[in-house]
């Protein structure tokens, strides 16, 4: 099977753009990135189904027909992507309702450590000798302002 080069390049561009967006912090951008990757992969299924032919119904014509199996698969994949995306949008909306932004937040433990640092507390296992070392990068990062009242 010879793959269709323009389609392959299209898949590459869509997935690359999608990956860039997924690496963002905001859930909405992550979702747009996910949709791009998902659509890129759907196009990939067009690549693997080989050259286009007639409709895959036996007895319709003697010309070579398209491979119906990847089309069945890609339809399923599209439906699943749609469902997951709508769930993700609802989640992003809920996050925005609760916190006023939809950024993916940090790990609870990381948060606890940062709060300890801001309060200038040390943990039980902290070694005084390490205190002379310079701060970890990121501790001087500006604090995010997050209104918590939930009103849009």
């Amino acid at each position: 099977m010879t793959p269709n080069l323009p389609l392959v390049i299209l898949v590459g561009i869509m997935v690359a753009a999608g990956v860039t967006l997924v690496l963002e912090r905001s859930l909405t951008r992550i979702l747009i990135g996910f949709v791009l990757i998902g659509n890129g992969v759907s196009v990939l299924y067009l690549v693997i189904s080989g050259p286009a032919g007639t409709a895959p119904i036996v007895g319709l014509s003697d010309d070579p027909m398209s491979d119906p199996l990847p089309q069945a698969m890609v339809l399923t994949a599209i439906v699943i992507t749609l469902g997951v995306t709508s769930f993700g949008l609802a989640l992003a909306y809920r996050a925005w309702q609760l916190t006023g932004h939809d950024d993916v937040q940090d790990d609870v433990e990381d948060d606890a450590i940062r709060r300890r640092a801001e309060k200038d507390e040390t943990s039980v296992t902290f070694d005084e000798a390490d205190a002379a070392l310079p701060d970890e990068e990121g501790s001087d990062r500006p604090r995010r302002i997050a209104p918590r009242d939930g009103t849009p």
Binding site: T76, F87, R115
Partner: protein, 534 residues
């Protein structure tokens, strides 16, 4: 008779629909859910016996031939996984009834919870029974989408936060799976596992390694194998106790099952065993070091979950009959034990409103039943003889020593160290939460948001904040009434199941050895799928 293979997938979906129809009646929802899951347990038991006696049970959905349509197969491995997972699901469902009744009263319907829980069960069954890569993907998606709903149940801030990470990671792994399926189809022209068994061997080794890596990446994300495991300890602890328990028991094991299935059936002689062994070693060691550093019961349990995935991967990576048999045995053991421990953590949270070890204490005296329910599965997890955890680890270690490669010896050493560190982490929980005397007051200012806001079903604070109790015997009587029977009995059932696994360990190990031989033989599976008609 083979048609019953369909039931574990169809029945829960039917039940989910019925639960939605009877959404206003809590009683009807409970009856439907229990009846459906009890029926599925029976079907799974029948399948297990039939798969053991007569070989793999196959059905071609809709009567299409296997390499075009979708086949469901229950061989020994699938049937065992199905039985263990449905028994655990049923117990967790009963536990959630207890919790729901306690928090919302007898008549409050959990309109979303029951249907979603049943759909999750259908997805897990579909993944275990599928003989088709794409149907496996669909099974994964069914269980993942219902797990998205369950992990964000109630939509509180903490759950949205942890759910976001879980959902984004799962979505990406699903896309990788789709790419893997596309590549497999492009290379071989089929996605049927049995047909692939022959065709992948004819491929150039570079192509087959690429396919294997793609599939392994997908399944390793789902199974939380070390470099891809960071999402799990962060996202599991905030969900309601029954949800965390069923996730911990089932979802990662579906990933491990998929690894075992593809490794044995598609890539029997592969070049990536060394890589898998390294992943197993790192998963075990890094996971357990995480558990040692934590001070919250649920987070400790999440890290031991990651760590013990390494044991199963170790058995698969060794690839001998004994290694596979040990891995399958270990999955059955670990599903029961880990679920039980998360349910007990839920009970601890219910009783003390926290699972933070810094705030707990005196539980052994105040709630002896709870202490026993924690102690037995905890020792089982740590691998103390004569429990099934010890037997599983022993089998894996023997398999590793028999492998006679230096890396296997490293893995054996890692397995033993991990086992000891598990005991240490568990002993820390025991000493601080159960053994030490209860303190009457706590230092203020230590409240750094460790509370996991997790226990109640809908994220509301269903448990009223209880005042600290002194550990007098009078208080004990008081507390025994406070632990609701509806939550204690299902937990005790699971504790009994995990002990029962120890009692039947001999026959079970013989069974898993037969399952491992069947996996390595491959021909039984292939002829059952491609030769058998629906």
């Amino acid at each position: 008779m083979n048609q019953i293979v369909l039931l574990p997938v169809i029945l829960p979906l039917l039940g989910a629909g019925l639960c939605l129809v009877f959404g206003r009646s809590a009683f009807a929802q409970r009856i439907i859910s229990i009846a459906i899951l009890a029926l599925v347990v029976t079907v799974a038991a029948v399948l297990l016996v039939r798969a053991d006696r007569f070989g793999p049970q196959t059905v071609n959905v809709g009567g299409w031939p296997a390499d075009i349509g979708i086949s469901l197969v229950a061989d020994r491995l699938s049937a065992l996984m199905l039985l263990v997972s449905t028994v655990v699901t049923l117990c967790v469902l009963l536990y959630s009834f207890g919790q729901g009744i306690v928090e919302f009263g007898r008549d409050a319907p959990l309109s979303v919870f029951h249907p979603t829980f049943l759909v999750l069960s259908a997805g897990v069954s579909n993944a275990f029974l599928s003989a088709d890569l794409f149907n496996l993907f669909v099974g994964f998606e069914i269980l993942l989408v219902s797990s998205y709903v369950l992990i964000t149940l109630g939509g509180t801030g903490a759950r949205v936060r942890s759910g976001t990470i879980y959902i984004v990671v799962s979505m990406i792994s699903s896309v990788v799976f789709l790419v893997a399926i596309a590549c497999v189809y492009a290379a071989t022209g089929t996605v049927n596992l049995a047909a692939l068994a022959g065709r992948i061997e004819e491929l150039p080794s570079g192509v087959s390694n690429l396919l294997q890596l793609l599939l392994l990446t997908t399944f390793c994300i789902k199974a939380a194998v070390f470099p891809l495991s960071a999402w799990l300890p962060d996202s599991y602890p905030t969900a309601p106790a029954p949800v965390t328990a069923v996730f911990a028991g089932l979802l990662t094991k579906v990933g491990i099952y998929a690894i075992i299935r593809t490794q044995t059936l598609l890539f029997p002689d592969n070049d990536l065993r060394t890589l898998l062994l390294w992943a197993a070693v790192l998963t075990m060691v890094v996971g357990i070091l995480g558990a040692v550093a934590q001070s919250d019961i649920k987070r400790i349990l999440s890290f031991t979950l990651v760590s013990h995935i390494g044991y199963m991967l170790f058995g698969v990576a060794i690839g001998s009959t004994m290694g596979l048999s040990g891995a399958i045995f270990y999955i059955a053991h670990h599903i029961t034990v880990q679920t039980t421990l998360f349910l007990v953590a839920g009970l601890v949270e219910y009783r003390s409103s926290t699972t933070n070890l810094d705030k707990l204490g005196g539980l052994a005296r105040a709630a002896p039943v709870l202490a026993v329910m924690f102690f037995v599965p905890a020792m089982n997890l740590a691998g103390i003889p004569p429990f099934s955890g010890f037997l599983g680890k022993l089998t894996l270690v023997e398999a590793g020593v028999d492998d006679h490669r230096w890396l296997s010896y490293v893995a054996v050493a890692a397995a033993i160290v991990t086992s000891l560190l598990t005991l240490y982490a568990i002993a820390k929980v025991w000493n601080r939460a159960f053994w030490r005397p209860a303190e009457t007051g706590h230092e203020a200012g230590d409240d750094l948001g460790h509370d996991s806001h997790g226990g109640s079903m809908h994220g509301r604070s269903g448990v009223s904040t209880k005042t600290e109790r002194t550990s007098t015997w009078k208080a004990v009587d008081d507390d025994q009434q406070r632990l609701p029977l509806g939550m204690v009995v299902p937990t005790l059932m699971l504790v009994a199941c995990s002990v029962a696994l120890t009692v039947v360990a001999g026959p079970l190990l013989a069974f898993t050895t037969r399952a491992a031989e069947e996996l390595q033989g491959r021909s039984a599976y292939v002829t059952a799928v491609l030769g058998g008609g629906g």
